[in-house]
């Protein structure tokens, strides 16, 4: 069953004004439960806008977006942002409880479980300012998983981190995902990362249309050293190059 349905979605910023800017142009796709979908595309093609519309932070101009939960309650969303977005005046644990439905024993247990999973079990009583950037980002990831979301959306969660930290967190994300099997929409402009993590890659082109929808059929866990992974990464990159050749705006954007 589809957890996320996007149907004929359009978004125009400043519609009806001189600076009207169409960012998403008749986008349609479904995401089935327990799959990990990446959205890649050049800078400015509307990836963050798409996520903000899905999460309800931004309104769309026309079309349909719906997230369903199979338990007959409103769907729960987890959002990992490009930056940690933690309340600086609350401890790590309080930050994670802040987005929970209720502050009860179950919520506390979930918070502890996911803090342990990202390796911060000892840091629950620290303030965000006492943690490094990478640790804060891990709190952001743990916070999103700990709400047990029907849909988890992530917007370039590793792009602000150094390469080594990012690689460690990617491996950690794969492990957590393998255990929890959440439905994920993951935005990145790093094709290598997308192939490593996803069941499917949606390629957006400048102007906000879907250029291609590529299934990634590789066994998990995937490691950089695996030749099959490297081959597919090269292939997807080649297709992106093709897109650049076709859509001239993209050539400058990536």
């Amino acid at each position: 069953m589809a957890v996320l349905t996007v149907n004929d979605l359009c978004k125009t910023f400043g519609a009806g004004t001189a600076r009207s800017n169409r960012v998403l142009d008749h986008i349609s796709f479904d995401v089935r439960g327990q799959t990990f979908v990446s959205v890649v595309g050049p800078s400015g093609c509307g990836k963050s806008t798409l996520l903000n519309i899905i999460s309800g932070v931004e309104t769309h101009t026309s079309g349909d977006v719906s997230v369903t939960s199979d338990e007959g309650r409103p769907a729960r969303l987890g959002y990992v942002f490009q930056d940690p977005r933690l309340l600086p005046w609350r401890t790590v644990r309080k930050n994670m409880l802040y987005v929970q439905d209720k502050d009860d024993d179950q919520a506390r247990r979930r918070v502890s479980t996911y803090l342990d999973m990202v390796g911060l079990g000892q840091h629950g009583d620290f303030f965000p300012g006492q943690l490094s950037g990478g640790m804060q980002q891990r709190v952001g990831i743990a916070r999103a998983f700990a709400v047990e979301p029907d849909l988890l959306i992530m917007d370039e969660p590793f792009s602000h981190l150094d390469a080594i930290t990012a690689r460690g967190l990617r491996a950690q994300l794969q492990d957590i995902w393998a255990q929890s099997r959440k439905t994920v929409v993951f935005v990145t402009h790093d094709v290598v990362e997308a192939v490593e993590l996803s069941d499917r890659i949606i390629v957006l082109q400048p102007g906000g249309r879907i250029f291609e929808d590529i299934p990634i059929d590789l066994p998990r866990p995937r490691r950089q050293s695996d030749p099959a992974v490297a081959t597919l990464q090269a292939e997807v990159l080649a297709r992106l190059e093709k897109m650049k050749a076709i859509t001239p705006q993209a050539a400058t954007a990536v």
């Binding site: 999460s55 932070v57 969303l77 959002y79 977005r85 600086p88 005046w89 802040y98 709400v147």
Partner: protein, 272 residues
Amino acid sequence: MTDTLTRRRSTEEIARSRPAWQRRLTSDRAARLTFYVVAFLFWIALAGLFERIPGPPSVVDSLVEEFRRGEVFGNFADTFYRFGIGVALSVGVGILVGVVIGLSPMARAFLESPVLVGLSIPAIMWAFLTVMWFGFGHTSPIVTTFLTAVPFVILNVAQGVQGVSRDLRDMSSSYGVPLGRRVRELVLPAVAGYVVAGLRFAVIMGWNGVLLAEWFGGSGGAGYRARFWYDANQFAGFAAWVVLFVGVIIILDQLLLERLSRRMFRWRDATH
């Protein structure tokens, strides 16, 4: 020759290069003390020059007399009772209205003008009006304190709420955090600095208000007692009360508000 463009000095080196007496002389405490000493000397000079300005000895005499007559504590008790209620009301209402204005553009459009009107009406007007409305007693100083202070609290808090990080607000709404929790955990801590600033205004403006209302209200209190000496043409007695007013404000501000703001910003100190 080698040029060192900029050499950073360590805290240890800085400490070593300045002798203890020099450090003490340039400390904050020394600066504060210097002000009080200079102000006191200035007062003595003025009193020596002008006959109608009472000097320190006569003011101290009057102060001692007032204490001896038992006028100080009773009148201050009245004043503090009125002031306390008025300030507490203005802080409570001010935070509430400030948050609502900050969060809702409709509330802002509706309430912005009355707040501006409130800001522009001086305490002395409220003192007159409330004495006309409520007569003598506790009500008029309490209402004057409240009306004088509340617009400042509202203005400060509303300004703070509008500055709350957009990113954190988006984060909260994407997770569907309920409004009450959002106000408690995100908005109020984010505007804590503005709340303290608002509280400071409330204390100072409210103090103005309560003294003026008592001055015109004739129902006891510190302001009333100051007027008593003024009407009796006893400037030393009047000045004694002015000294008391100033002392109270300084103590309130330094002791209470300083401590409060230090408590509220503990999270910030923890990260350094």
